[in-house]
Each structure stands twice: as structure tokens, then as C-alpha cells.
């Protein structure tokens, strides 16, 4: 008896579908759906327009509008100060990029230490747990103060003294604790059967981790991971309190000098411009993950 799978049998006679024409009922249905879609689009546009007009009217009609306009939305002031702020913003970008790499590496280490069960690593595990408890608990701004002013005060050999570098250290300390926890959640989210399957194939513990568990773990927690990095991008502004000439600090100086708050708005615009692409990317990843879940649940 020849063995064939049922799937093969189904493919043998691929449906010839050329003579298919949509029925009158289906065409009517599609007309209705299109009409409904049009109606929905109109409603959406109308509601958006009305709320925008309402917000704009409220703002413009408020008694302080004139003062606000001249203090916060001064075009000339903006043009005058923006180049310097943009210059400062470059330092934010550098801080962010350096911190991000360090955080990923260190966060992964923390996560790995916390999930392994090797008895010899018990002291490390305790240290990692303590680290996460402490640094997730301390407000980031407070940490920036502590590292920025405390570390140089120790007068140890080789400690950096540049404020921006101290700021990066503080951010790394704070965010590594968060990212480590996110990654740990990811590692725990991979089903134990995956580890069993990998070990059953003869892969070592570390090969299993590297080739099977970690790729799935990272995929599972990519959206919250990106979320943390978006937060990090703007938290580079906290370093302003240590005095390096990054975007917020520059804006602060300019604002104080000219008695005009427009420079703050310029800095805000830059931070938004940098976070939006990453936010959209996170959205897209989430949508794709959702589609994957649907595909698995479907049929």
C-alpha cells in the first residue's frame, strides 16, 4: 500500500478557480462594508478636527496666552538658541549610545547570574539580587547626584572626573537593574520543554542557553526592552544636574540668560524627535508579535 499524507492528496487537485465570480450578495456586502468604512473615516476625521479646534481655541483664548506665546514660543529666540542646543544634544546621543551598549551587556550578565542554579555561583547570585534591589529602588536623579558628586569625592585613583562620564555611569547603574530584570523575565518565559529538547540533543548548558533559550527570550521581551531604552534616551537629560553642556543644560543656560523659556521647547523637540522612531519601531515589533500569536491560534 502506497503511503501518502493527506496533505499531498489535497494538493494533487489544486482548485481551478478561474470561473469564480463574486455573487451579487457578496458584491452588495462589499459595497456595504466600503460605505461603512467611508463613514468611519469621516467620523474619525471630524472628531479629530473638532477636538483639535477645541484645544487650540481653549489655549489661545486663555488669559495668559499672550505671555505664554512670548515666553515659550518666541521664533527669534528659537532660531538664536537652537544651534547651541543641537550641539549639546550630540552629547546626549553619545551618552545614550555608550550607556545602551554597557547596559545590554551588564543587564544580560545580571539576568544570567540570577537564573543559573549552579551552587558555586551563590555569592554572585546574592550580589546580583542585592544590586537589583538597591539600584531599582533609588531614584535615577538621586543616583546621578550620588555618583556625580560622591565618586570624585572618594578621590580614588583612576576614577573619571568628567561630569558626563559620571552621568553615564549613574545611568548604566540604574538602567542595568531594569534591563536585567526584563531579560530575566524573558529567560524565564521560554518554556522548559525547549531546554529539555536542546539538552536531549546533546547541547551543553551554555550551548543551550546561547543557541536556544536566549534567542527566544530576547524575542519575547523586545518590546519592554525597547521601552526601557526609550526611557533611557530622555533620562540622559538628568545628567544636566552635573553641569555638562548637554541639550537641557544648554537650554537652561540660554533660558536664564534671556528670560525666555523657548530654548526648553527646542530641547524638548529634540528629545521627541529622537524617541519617536524607536517608539514606532517598538509598535511595529509588537504588532508583528501579535500577528504571530494570531497565526498560531488561527485555524
Amino acid at each position: 500500500m502506497k503511503h501518502e499524507t493527506t496533505a499531498e492528496l489535497d494538493q494533487q487537485a489544486n482548485p481551478q478557480d478561474e470561473q469564480y465570480r463574486p455573487s451579487e450578495r457578496q458584491r452588495e456586502r462589499e459595497r456595504f462594508r466600503r460605505a461603512r468604512q467611508r463613514r468611519n473615516r469621516w467620523t474619525a476625521s471630524l472628531c479629530t478636527l473638532v477636538s483639535l479646534v477645541a484645544v487650540a481655541a481653549t489655549v489661545v483664548a486663555s488669559p495668559g496666552w499672550d505671555r505664554l506665546h512670548s515666553r515659550f514660543l518666541d521664533g527669534a529666540e528659537f532660531r538664536k538658541t537652537f544651534p547651541a542646543i543641537l550641539d549639546g544634544f550630540w552629547l546626549n546621543v553619545q551618552m545614550f549610545l555608550i550607556a545602551e551598549v554597557l547596559i545590554l551587556v551588564l543587564g544580560l550578565l545580571i539576568a544570567l547570574v540570577r537564573v543559573t542554579r549552579a551552587p558555586g555561583l551563590q555569592p554572585l547570585r546574592l550580589a546580583a539580587t542585592l544590586y537589583v534591589d538597591v539600584f531599582r529602588g533609588v531614584p535615577t536623579l538621586l543616583l546621578v547626584f550620588l555618583v556625580g558628586f560622591g565618586l570624585p569625592a572618594l578621590q580614588l585613583q583612576g576614577t573619571p572626573s568628567q561630569p558626563w562620564l559620571l552621568g553615564v555611569i549613574a545611568l548604566v547603574l540604574s538602567y542595568t537593574a531594569y534591563v536585567g530584570e526584563v531579560l530575566r523575565a524573558g529567560l524565564n518565559s521560554v518554556h522548559p520543554a525547549q531546554r529539555n529538547a536542546a539538552r536531549a540533543l546533546g547541547l551543553s548548558e551554555s550551548q543551550t542557553l546561547r543557541r536556544v533559550i536566549l534567542p527566544q527570550a530576547v524575542r519575547n521581551v523586545l518590546p519592554p526592552l525597547l521601552n526601557d531604552f526609550i526611557a533611557l534616551q530622555k533620562d540622559t537629560a538628568l545628567v544636566a544636574v552635573l553641569g555638562p553642556l548637554e541639550a537641557l543644560r544648554v537650554a537652561q543656560i540660554k533660558a536664564n540668560y534671556d528670560f525666555n523659556y523657548t530654548p526648553y521647547l527646542g530641547a524638548a523637540a529634540l528629545f521627541i524627535a529622537m524617541t519617536i522612531p524607536l517608539t514606532r519601531y517598538a509598535d511595529r515589533l509588537q504588532r508583528r508579535a501579535a500577528q504571530r500569536t494570531w497565526a498560531e491560534a488561527g485555524q
Partner: protein, 246 residues
């Protein structure tokens, strides 16, 4: 003959470029058990999903008791209240115990008071042999028990028609019987059931009608006796010889 409870005509459904259902015509009379058989990927599940409006059809109509379910003006939620569906993978809610799984829809959708909903749920559970499992969480139950709980959940809203999507396919062979016994019991109580199944023995013994799906159409349809002992189509014969030889 009376108007059938469920009437499907010229139903068409494609996922992207993959045409799954080409043109399905099927009628299910009240109190009938109709079994859908066919190879994997032949569209049995898709057909059930279309009936429960979990997928939007591409053409054709589905009528349930005189209402056209495929009418885009119809509120899908209202239509779904009249249909019960049980899935291959049980799909019980893991965060709710068995009783809460069953009373969720009666209480939230049909606004049945808690006491009354729980009373009916306990009756159902007793009937399905799960009386002592009311407060257990799904993960504590065997596959057969979970699937029976899922059937109870589908029954709790008193649906006009029950859709069973390969409800025994995920079960160990020794647990299949207990679930099929429940289906037989439901049939004797006069429920209307449309089920996709690979259990040929059960289909032969319990179904009023058997439909063989292939290439997106119902290739053969008839009484269980006729389809299993005297299939008219070569493809039905080949399918049956392949699945029955095991």
C-alpha cells in the same frame, strides 16, 4: 421538509492567496449530528470558524434559524450568543477555575445572576461527570476533563447549535472515549451538533450525516452508513482506506 436550522450555501473563504473553502453547501437540521471528515488542511476547522464568525467569509451565506449570519449589518456578538464552539486545544481560561470558566458568559453576556448561573453550571458539571472539579483550575485537570469542562462552558449559554472542532484530537487515546460519550449524551438530548472529527468509528456510529471535505468543497455527503460502506467518490474511498487501515 422544514427549513433546516443551519443552512450554508456557496460558502467561500481564502486566507490570502490560499483558497481553503471553494464552495460549501451544507444543511443541518435541528437535532441532527453532522460530522465533517477530511484530510488535515481540507477546511473543516475553517468552516466551523466561519460559522462562529471568527473569520469573515469571502462569499456565500450562512443562515441560522432564519437569520443570515454573514450579513455585515448583523452584530456578530449577538449571533455568537446562539452558537457554542469547542476547540481542539480546549482554550479554557487558565486564570479561572472550572466553575468560573463556565459561568463567565452566562453572567457577563446573558446577565444571569451569579447564584443561578452557578447552579446551572453545577448541574452541567454533574452531567458531564465533573461535579467534584468545580473549584479546580484547568491546569489541574486531565485533557479529557479539560475538554469536558470546555463542552460545559459551550453548553452553559444554551446555544442553538454546537460546533466541535476536532475536540478529541489533542487527547490521549484512552481519554477520547470519555469525551465522545459526552457527545453521544448530547445527541440523545436532542442537541444540534456540527463536528469536525478524525474519529471515524464515532462518526459512523453517531452521525446522522457525514460530509467528506476535499479541495474546498463537500465531495461526498450522506448517511454515515452510506458514506462508510458505499462511498460514491473515488477520493472518498481513498481517504477512508488510508485512515481506516490504521
Amino acid at each position: 421538509m422544514n427549513e433546516p436550522l443551519l443552512r450554508i450555501s456557496a460558502l467561500r473563504k481564502a486566507y490570502g492567496s490560499r483558497l481553503v473553502l471553494r464552495s460549501i453547501d451544507l444543511e443541518v437540521a435541528e437535532h441532527q449530528v453532522v460530522c465533517l471528515i477530511g484530510g488535515s488542511g481540507s477546511g473543516k476547522s475553517t468552516l466551523l470558524r466561519c460559522i462562529d464568525l471568527l473569520d469573515v467569509v469571502d462569499d456565500g451565506t450562512i443562515h441560522l434559524g432564519g437569520t443570515e449570519l454573514t450579513d455585515p449589518r448583523l452584530d456578530a456578538n449577538l449571533a455568537r450568543r446562539r452558537i457554542g464552539i469547542v476547540f481542539q486545544a480546549y482554550n479554557l481560561f487558565p486564570h479561572l477555575n472550572v466553575l468560573d470558566n463556565i459561568t463567565l458568559a452566562p453572567r457577563q453576556v446573558h446577565k444571569v445572576p451569579r447564584r443561578q448561573a452557578e447552579e446551572s453550571a453545577r448541574e452541567l458539571l454533574a452531567r458531564l461527570g465533573l461535579a467534584d472539579k468545580a473549584h479546580d483550575y484547568p491546569e489541574r485537570l486531565s485533557g479529557g476533563q479539560q475538554q469536558r469542562a470546555a463542552i460545559a462552558r459551550a453548553l452553559a449559554t444554551d446555544p442553538q447549535v454546537l460546533l466541535f472542532d476536532e475536540i478529541t484530537s489533542a487527547l490521549d487515546p484512552e481519554l477520547v472515549g470519555e469525551v465522545l460519550d459526552v457527545v453521544t449524551d448530547l445527541k440523545e438530548r436532542g442537541l444540534t451538533i456540527l463536528m469536525a472529527t478524525h474519529e471515524m468509528g464515532f462518526a459512523r456510529q453517531a452521525a446522522d450525516q457525514v460530509c467528506f471535505l476535499q479541495d474546498g468543497v463537500i465531495r461526498e455527503q450522506g448517511t454515515a452508513e452510506q458514506v462508510f460502506t458505499d462511498p460514491r467518490h473515488e477520493s472518498t474511498r481513498r481517504f477512508l482506506s488510508r485512515v481506516l487501515e490504521r
